[in-house]
Symmetry: C3
Subunit: 269 residues, 3 copies
């Protein structure tokens, strides 16, 4: 077994080029708060979103989709059942899937649901803030969707979680950490306004599902998604007066960012 190659800025630029070429169809089972925003982020970057989240169709569609996002922001009995069925469809068709365990640790039902989904089918990528990732490893919980734990503290938990599930784990924060249990990628782009707009993290999970559809190495996919959201966030913040104009500018910049720019401007370590 060879050691996987370290992730380079060029890998991230090539991943973005692959996403633009492939325009992957990404099924999103996400929450009522960010569904529209998530679709707009995916469309801006060049992917094709489809929010098919009812139990009658979620499994059928997961076999057509090229990437799948399961986000636990506002689960209901109906959509939770659809999540489980989508995983079955995705497993059969080998569709990569991303788990975004929103507020897991703070709330019991969704914490059980997250564990159940991980047991049913290995997630390709698990993406959360520090509290959510620590909660999945058995650590302390957060306060709703906010994180009370530092991403650095969560980096250790992330490696353990990656090992346990054989998944890539991504922890969001001022510096984002992405690991498969052996490699650890750190990306330090982005702007505090990303936390003043709802759905920054949720959109990142959706982008990871889009990149996982076109890039076989899930560490590269998760890293490319992180760079593709946070490098444009730097540009968007520079031309914005507040969180409203920032979120509009971010969609513009997501459409404008070029692979070579991404590789040049990402702060990777």
């Amino acid at each position: 077994m060879t050691t996987p190659a370290p992730v380079t800025p060029q890998d991230l630029g090539e991943a973005l080029a692959a996403l633009r070429d492939g325009a992957p169809l990404v099924q999103c089972l996400t929450n009522i708060v960010v569904a529209g925003w998530t679709a707009n982020v995916l469309l801006a970057v060049g992917a094709a979103p489809a929010m098919v989240d009812n139990p009658h169709e979620a499994g059928e569609f997961a076999a057509i989709a090229e990437g799948l996002l399961v986000n636990l922001g506002t689960p209901y009995d109906d959509t939770a059942a659809a999540m489980s069925l989508a995983l079955t469809g995705a497993a059969r068709a080998r569709t990569p899937w991303v788990l975004d365990p929103v507020a897991v640790g703070a709330l019991e039902w969704r914490t059980s649901l997250a564990h159940q989904l991980c047991d049913e089918s290995r997630p390709t990528i698990i993406r959360g803030n520090a509290s959510e990732i620590l909660a999945l490893t058995g650590g302390s919980g957060g306060r709703g969707v906010e994180s009370l734990d530092s991403p650095e503290a969560a980096a250790q938990g992330a490696m353990a979680l990656a090992d346990r599930h054989q998944s890539v784990v991504a922890v969001s924060g001022p510096t984002d950490h992405i690991t498969d249990g052996s490699r650890m990628v750190r990306i330090s782009n982005g702007h505090p306004w990303l936390t003043r707009v709802t759905g920054g993290g949720c959109a990142l999970g959706a982008l990871m599902a889009a990149f996982a559809a076109v890039v076989p190495d899930a560490v590269v996919a998760a890293s490319a998604a992180t760079a593709t959201l946070t490098v444009p966030a730097d540009s968007a913040a520079a031309r914005s007066a507040g969180p409203g104009s920032f979120s509009v500018a971010l969609l513009d910049e997501l459409a404008l960012i070029q692979p070579a720019d991404l590789a040049e401007r990402v702060r990777l370590s």
Copy 2:
């Protein structure tokens, strides 16, 4: 039986003036992705949206509403039941209704649902992309919400579908086609960014329900809605840097567009 008059640019300007005067109350049973956007489009143009989509109230409200939209973007058992009840209320009160068969053809459950709804009550207007319209006529399906078939190819299917249901059928694309089975209106305004923002088509369906509330000829209503979305899209694109600023500018232009401008700038054939 006389041949209906051809649709003129002046008809579309007059329809917009009637919408501004009437401020019709439009009930929308639509999807979780675009509900907010759809409401904002209707408000910007001068209509009054109301998203009443639960089974307890949808039928009652359809008798109060002046236009009804049924959009199949994210149906659930609950809202699918509400759709059927809304049609009953609308039929009793003779409220015009628009069917937007999102992703029909690609997914089985909603395809049955679309056929069932059409059987329960004749839609005033059916609006979709080429794949969705062909699927309703028994043709090939699409890939989620995207269309794989050309609008020109769908124009033939649209005429057959219009004949079968005695409905007006509108097929969206670079050129929009609107037909009642005898007349065929083509409108060629709009901008590719309309496909980079989620809910362009969904908002168009909602606008058709608003215009059907104030204009008796449903070909004129569907054409006026198409022009009212796509002519402002031309202006919005001209002052935008990307899809984010485009969607913001589009709402502004929808509020600013005047009937005479609409008649002058629509590319109708």
Copy 3:
């Protein structure tokens, strides 16, 4: 029993400072149309939204949350059950809660639901337009989410409703009225574009829940929320071309407004 002090502009400025310091966690059971917009308004102003609205978790979370919003815009059986459970959790933890009775009076099911929720637990604040407030007092109904009754006419009903429930009642309109049955605060900021963007009133209800979390006097909380939405709306309108750019600018101004500005610019009587 002493007469409560009248509300001053300084009280409202101090309330905003308290909100910024406290960053209260606000649980929102709201509708699918405005969930994202509401979260963005709360984030912009400095609060922490969490849309936990399923029956499994709503009660548990209401004991963690510092303020609770129950908005009847798009209720379903599932979320209506969650509302009732959230009130039980909120009552146990003494979490203040705000009722936004959207379209009550126009529709039977939600009218019963609103009365039931008020009977289960005294609302800290009830916020609606004139028609909704009059409907709760037994008056005439509205037309969907629009108000057909004048806020002045509703002011009398508001005082009666405030007395009946021992709640603060806020009536939105060109002039907003806020009363606890003895005091009556009038605020005359804001812009007609607030009615051309969906969720102006819904966001106001959410802001009231945020202010009620940090300010013990609910008349001050409701007044501070009203000023915090409408004073920035004045600035946002001044730099906007239409309702699209207005809603973006409003989020910016909500983040920028300072307590001293608020106190200086509010038109209070």
